[in-house]
Symmetry: C3
Subunit: 139 residues, 3 copies
């Protein structure tokens, strides 16, 4: 049984930029030397999140619209009134969708469905440099 | 320390069918030969998700209503305009609720609360055959 | 490779009380004797959830507002009509946000971002005594 900690570095455009991290993650798992287990992808950030989706432009824009509707950018936020950085909506979106995601892998391959891709969402209101934590655990 | 990969097969009616998988999961954990650890239930699909709820008809219908309200089926979706399969809402609901869920177990028993059941939600717009990945890890 | 099961006890005020559990969790991880791995925090309850946020009063009140808007307390719930306990909204909020959260740790430290805190949300409609399950796994 082994634990390996890797990372994925990303340059994002912010503003609910949605980035497919499936290939980067698959590569880390396949090269980890661990055959079976789970990989936990974690974003050490308060304005981003991780989930899965069918990564085609339709689904991606439909998913963005959800956040624009239930957590709109252009309204009052207590966070903005206090700190003036204008990313109150980013914090609420990230807390709702969560910064952590775990996927099983078997024989060094993620157990994803055919159309299922792992995505990183940067909800911040400006471009950011991000570094995700990838913890691979198994035997 | 050991990893075991099991599965749960389900026939669903789609359309936010909500299925209690607690008993199936408890059985897999109790028979795994692993005493303490975490079990990760993962749906290899882009139109389904996993969470917990008090599994009584009231809570289940209240939870369905939430998705009908914040991600309604009958409106335009970019996904539907491109692919014509009518399940744009299914993708958004699944990406929001997420396809992965991890539960600790102690002495071969899930650490669930009294009223807490693990549920699989099939958001697709038609009946589906599903096979969930159940990764049990511990010692 | 080792598994350790710990717990965090909390007295909450209910009504979407949001409690910072970062310090309690960091202490359990640092004293676990396990250097690298993941910690899974699980709430054995059907009316509470766990996520991360920048823990300042602005973000916290903005996040509460989201739940008041998309899952309001004062409306009909099938759960309430059946059981009369008035916490139908609590169940829906908890099922949406989920009772489980996993964080990697490296050299006995959680890999959290600078402003990122782990929070427990008690959505029930009355004060509660809670005991979270903390499963630490690694080597």
């Amino acid at each position: 049984m082994t634990v390996k900690t890797e990372s994925i570095k990303l340059s994002t455009r912010g503003n609910t930029d949605i980035i497919d991290i499936t290939d980067a993650l698959s590569l880390l798992v396949s090269e980890s030397g661990i055959n079976n287990g789970i990989v936990t992808v974690f974003s050490p950030s308060a304005t981003s999140a991780i989930t899965t989706i069918e990564y085609e432009t339709g689904c991606v824009s439909d998913f963005k619209r959800l956040f624009d509707e239930i957590v709109p950018q252009n309204r009052d936020y207590s966070h903005n009134l206090k700190w003036g950085d204008g990313n109150g909506h980013s914090h609420v979106r990230a807390a709702l969708l969560k910064a952590s995601f775990s996927v099983p892998f078997v024989e060094r391959r993620l157990t994803l469905g055919t159309w299922q891709h792992i995505i990183f969402l940067d909800f911040d209101n400006r471009p950011r440099q991000r570094e995700l934590v990838v913890q691979i655990m198994g035997e």
